[in-house]
Structures are given as structure tokens and as C-alpha cells.
């Protein structure tokens, strides 16, 4: 293949990465933005989304598209419910102390991972894509499902944006983000907002997991990379800034696709982690984000 089409393929693969990454990172960013806590178990919610998609596909009879649609609804809801329970049982009792929350979510990460290993097993399992179109470009054929992933992620993010800016619930969340004490004084039930935010963030990660699972198999350790990449995206985009998160997801996803075609993945990851550390040290508000 010539260089041009090769680059195009890399960019398209990068766009798929960007799309799921943007979903997962938006969840992490939302949680940090509103609740001011870092959820280290975020990648496990992504993994649970993928594993639940597999389970739903195995349980729902009929055409794969139907099972997949069911998974798109069921997995994020279940994961969201789990997250809401974790919020009520653990994070709330810690009073959302930032450091204690990180320790607790590390514990949650281990527990979810091990429970999945026990119940689901160590194998990676595929889930059939809901449809099997291929789009034939002059140079290569491309999976129609992957384009669907990009589209779906875009729509969900658009809906998230509309929810945050156009609805009363979104307004309440943003008010809580700005000042939780004042929000409480105005009669906002901050506990409920936090629980909802945590569930929503987890649901977004789970949704990303469902979308990715026809491309990449479901495995109990698959949460590590998205966690790391989401961290990178959220930090570079500016902690808590949704717009910065989206831009950063695009940049990271695309460059990840392109870079991993030319460099070894390990070297790319070393550079990326060091970049994140340096951004936090020297540009704590992120590269793209306005002042936090």
C-alpha cells in the first residue's frame, strides 16, 4: 500500500480509538469535574461494559443486532447501578476526600477485576458485530461497524453536551461543580447529584466498552489501557474540562493510531506517560483546557 492510503487507514483506526476514548474519558472527566475525585476503577467499568455485552449477547436469542442493542442499554445501566452503589456505600462515607477516594477506588479496581476473573474466567471472548457491512474504498475495504462506532460515540457525546447545557439536571450538576456548599444552600440534593454523576461517568465507560467489544474481545484485564489513556486525555485536556477532554481524546486517539504504526507501542506509551507527568508538573491546567 502507498503511503497516502496507509496514513488514511491509520487515521481511521485512530478515529475509532478517539471515539471510544472520548466516551470513557468524558466519564472520568465528568466525575472529576463535578465531584473533584479521581476514580481509579474507571477502567474496570469499561471492562464490565464489555464483559456484560458478551453476557447479554450470550443470553439474548435472535439476531446479533438485537442482542447488541440490548447490551447497549443493559450494560451501561447495570454498571451505572453498581457505581451508584459504590458511591453510596464507600465514597459518600469517605466524604469524597480526594486521597482516601483514590485508595478506595484502587481497592474497588482489585475487587471488580478479581470478581470478574472468578465469574467470567481468564479467557478473552468475542462478541459478534451487530452488522457486517464493509465499505469499499479505492485502496482498501473498511469495516462499517467501526464507522458506526465513531458515529455512535459522536451522538452520545452530543447528547451528553445537550444534557449538561440544556436540561435542568445538567444545570444542577454544573451548579454543584462550581460550588457544592452554595448548591446545597439552594436546596440541591448534592448527595443525589454525586451519585448520579458517578453512575453517569461509569455508564459512559461501560458504553465505550460495549462499543469496542465487537472489535476487541472482552477480557478481565482489558481495563488497564483505557484507564491510562483516559487519564492522559483528561489531564492533557485539563482536569474537569469536557471540551478539553474531547479535543485531547481526538489528538491522543489519532496520534496513538498513527504513532503505533511507526513506533513500537511500548516506546509510544513511555513517551505518553512522561508527557502526562510533565503536563501535570508544568501545566497543571492542561494543554488545551482553560483555567480549571
Amino acid at each position: 500500500m502507498a503511503f497516502g492510503p496507509f496514513l488514511l487507514l491509520a487515521l481511521m483506526e485512530g478515529l475509532v480509538t478517539s471515539a471510544t476514548l472520548a466516551l470513557a474519558a468524558a466519564g472520568l472527566s465528568l466525575v472529576f469535574g463535578v465531584m473533584r475525585v479521581v476514580n481509579v476503577a474507571h477502567g474496570e467499568f469499561y471492562m464490565l461494559g464489555a464483559v456484560l455485552a458478551w453476557a447479554v449477547a450470550a443470553l439474548v436469542p435472535g439476531p446479533p443486532a438485537l442482542a447488541f442493542l440490548a447490551a447497549l442499554v443493559v450494560a451501561p445501566l447495570l454498571v451505572g447501578a453498581l457505581a451508584a452503589a459504590a458511591d453510596g456505600l464507600i465514597l459518600k462515607r469517605l466524604n469524597y476526600d480526594p486521597e482516601a477516594t483514590i485508595v478506595a477506588t484502587i481497592g474497588l479496581l482489585y475487587m471488580i477485576q478479581q470478581a470478574t476473573l472468578s465469574l467470567y474466567g481468564p479467557n478473552a471472548n468475542p462478541v459478534q458485530a451487530p452488522f457486517d457491512w464493509r465499505i469499499q474504498l479505492p485502496w482498501f475495504g473498511y469495516s462499517g461497524y467501526k464507522l458506526f462506532v465513531i458515529l455512535a460515540a459522536g451522538l452520545v457525546l452530543l447528547a451528553l453536551w445537550a444534557f449538561m447545557t440544556r436540561t435542568k439536571a445538567g444545570l444542577i450538576m454544573r451548579a454543584t461543580q462550581v460550588d457544592r456548599t452554595t448548591a446545597r444552600a439552594f436546596g440541591i440534593n448534592v448527595d443525589r447529584v454525586y451519585m448520579g454523576t458517578f453512575a453517569l461517568g461509569a455508564g459512559l465507560a461501560a458504553l465505550a466498552g460495549v462499543l469496542i467489544v465487537p472489535i476487541q474481545q472482552a477480557h478481565y484485564l482489558m481495563g488497564g489501557d483505557p484507564l491510562l489513556l483516559s487519564f492522559i486525555v483528561v489531564i492533557i485536556g485539563g482536569l474537569g474540562s469536557l471540551r478539553g477532554t474531547l479535543i485531547a481524546a481526538l489528538v491522543i486517539g489519532l496520534s496513538d493510531g498513527v504513532i503505533s504504526m511507526f513506533f513500537t507501542p511500548t516506546l509510544a506509551k513511555i513517551l505518553a506517560t512522561l508527557l502526562v507527568a510533565m503536563v501535570l508538573v508544568f501545566r497543571p491546567h492542561g494543554l488545551f483546557g482553560a483555567k480549571a
Binding site: 479521581v38 464507600i90 462515607r93 469517605l94 480526594p98 486521597e99 482516601a100 483514590i102 485508595v103 478506595a104 484502587i106 481497592g107 474497588l108 479496581l109 482489585y110 475487587m111 471488580i112 477485576q113 478479581q114 470478581a115 476473573l117 472468578s118 491510562l228 487519564f231 489531564i235 513500537t264 511500548t266 516506546l267 506509551k269 513511555i270 506517560t273 512522561l274 502526562v276 507527568a277 510533565m278 501535570l280 508538573v281 508544568f282 497543571p284
Partner: protein
């Protein structure tokens, strides 16, 4: 005194520590070889946790990257032994220095941040370090690691792969580490470390340079981590990138939280209890990490001061 004060206790404190050391020393005579080997591991990991405790428990630096310091010590000792045939003595010293230098280097950058940012920066540095070990797999052995030649595992004519010398070596390192940490936290410098944890702004207005105090504390912490890493490599004859993974950053935090942050004996107690718990649960082998996770959650929820921290608060006020 509460929350890790500096003064008080006097003679009682030293007696308590020396008594613990005496019991540990005698353990080689009454423990089965299997349990004695476990105790060696516990003592080595407790040294690591003591270092973590200096940073987290006393200075308030919650690091998620101490695996990097452990690995620095392990490879700074292991690689010269492997490549140039260094013997255990010089290799150990290189390991200690490696941990300290790595900590200082990380601290120079990471200590420009605080709180959650500090946690993430240290996590990222450790992850970069782990990946670097994988990237240079031809030298480091990557995930598989490498075994140290028995010729390198000798000190003063003793063979560290044999049970008794190994136990004694671990005991000596542990004892020196424990007494040094006791002396350190009861010294004026230890008091200024605690001051960083308690009220950094006030400390600055007493003439302390918080950055330098924290850097020095982190470097001390790194010396301990380096010693533990080097000891592990030399006593068990193995170095591998798995020691640089996030798990080994979480373990010392778990030990310290369990035993009691800001208590001199907490790290050892935490390591001991955690080993016992895992041993007891070993029937459900895959449950190991579940147990670690559950312990972390339970500790931050119900006993944030850990075992000794709670005992100190309720009953034994002079506990250091």
C-alpha cells in the same frame, strides 16, 4: 503526640523496638523453614513499607509510584551483579543508592505538585519506568526478569542463597532500617517532616523550605525502597520488571494503612498481618487480589488510622 508526634515515651520506646527485634531474631530457631522464608520476605517488604511510611505516614506524601524506587534498587543491585559480577556487598550499596537517587530525581519534578496531582505524577513516572524496563528487555529480562548467579550472592564468605545467612541478612537490614527510622522520626528532622504533613504553610513561616524537607524525606524513603529492592534481588536471586508494576506501589501503601500510618512499627505489622491473611485465604487462591482490594476499602472506610494508629489513639499514647 497524637497523629505521629515526635517526643515522649523515652526508654519504653527503645525497649519495645529492641524486644521486637529479639523475638524476630529468635524466630529462625523456632519457625519452620517455610515460615522462616516467608518471614524473610515480610522483613524485606517491611523495609520497603517503612520507607513508604516515611514519605506517606510522616511527611504526608501519598505516592503511587514507589514501585519505581523498589525496582531502581533491585536493578541497581541486580544488573551490576549480572553484567559485571559484582558481589553482594557492593551490589547492595549500589541498590540503596539507586533507590535514593531515583527518589530524588522523581521528587525534583513531582514535588512541584501536591495532593492528587502528586499521586498521578508519581503513578505516571512509575508506569514509564516499568515500560522502560520492558523496552530494554534484552538487558533487563523484561517481564521474565533474570536470575542472579549464585557467585554474586555472597557476602563475607556467606552464601545468601542458604537459609540461615539469608535470614540473618534480612534481619540485619530490617533491624537497621527499623532503628534508623525510629531515630529519624524522633529527631528534629523527623519533626519537620511531620510539620509538612500537618501544616505546610505554617512550616514555611517558621523558616522551613517545604520543597527541600519533602525532597529529603522522599530521598530517605527511596533509600529504604532501594535497600528492599536490592535485598530482594540478592536474597531471592531474582530481578524482574513485575516488581515495577503498580501492584508494588499499592502493597506498601496497604501495609502502612493496615499497620498504622505514621507509626514506626506499623509497616512491619501491616506486612505481617497481610501475609497471614493471604495465607489463611490461600484455599481460595484467586481471591488474593480481591482480599487486597477489600482490605484497602475497609481500611479507608473503617480504620483510616490502622492497627497501631488506633491503639495509640485509644490506649498507648507514647507509641512512636
Amino acid at each position: 503526640m497524637t497523629g505521629g508526634g515526635v517526643t515522649g515515651g523515652g526508654v519504653k520506646v527503645w525497649v519495645l523496638h529492641l524486644a521486637l527485634l529479639a523475638v524476630l531474631f529468635s524466630a529462625q530457631f523456632w519457625l519452620s523453614p517455610y515460615h522462616a522464608t516467608n518471614l524473610v520476605r515480610i522483613m524485606v517488604l517491611a523495609v520497603f513499607a517503612m520507607g513508604y511510611n516515611l514519605a506517606f505516614g510522616y511527611t504526608g506524601l501519598l505516592s503511587l509510584g514507589h514501585a519505581l524506587l523498589l525496582a531502581a534498587g533491585m536493578y541497581a543491585a541486580g544488573l551490576p551483579a549480572q553484567l559485571w559480577g559484582w558481589s553482594a556487598g557492593p551490589a547492595f550499596i549500589a541498590g540503596v543508592a539507586g533507590g535514593g537517587l531515583m527518589a530524588a530525581a522523581v521528587g525534583l519534578l513531582a514535588l512541584r505538585t501536591a495532593g492528587v496531582s502528586f499521586m498521578i505524577v508519581t503513578l505516571m513516572f512509575a508506569q514509564a519506568g516499568f515500560l522502560t524496563l520492558l523496552y530494554f528487555a534484552p538487558i533487563t529480562g523484561g517481564d521474565d526478569g533474570f536470575a542472579l548467579a549464585n557467585a554474586s550472592r555472597r557476602i563475607f564468605g556467606f552464601d545468601l542463597s542458604a537459609d540461615t545467612p539469608r535470614f540473618l541478612a534480612a534481619f540485619v537490614i530490617f533491624a537497621l532500617g527499623l532503628l534508623a527510622s525510629l531515630a529519624l522520626v524522633r529527631s528534629p528532622f523527623g519533626r519537620s517532616m511531620v510539620a509538612m504533613r500537618e501544616n505546610e504553610e505554617r512550616s514555611r513561616m517558621l523558616g522551613y523550605n517545604p520543597f527541600m524537607v519533602k525532597l529529603a524525606a522522599l530521598a530517605c524513603s527511596g533509600l529504604y525502597a532501594g535497600a528492599a529492592g536490592a535485598a530482594y534481588a540478592l536474597l531471592f536471586g531474582y530481578a524482574g520488571a513485575s516488581f515495577a508494576t503498580i501492584q508494588y506501589s499499592i502493597l506498601p501503601m496497604l501495609y502502612v494503612l493496615l499497620g498504622g500510618a505514621g507509626t514506626t512499627l506499623g509497616p512491619f505489622l501491616g506486612a505481617l498481618v497481610m501475609f497471614a491473611l493471604i495465607e489463611a485465604a490461600s484455599g481460595l487462591t484467586s481471591a488474593y487480589f480481591f482480599l487486597v482490594g477489600a482490605a484497602l476499602v475497609a481500611l479507608v472506610l473503617f480504620a483510616p488510622k490502622g492497627i497501631l494508629g488506633t491503639i495509640r489513639e485509644r490506649w498507648v499514647r507514647w507509641l512512636p
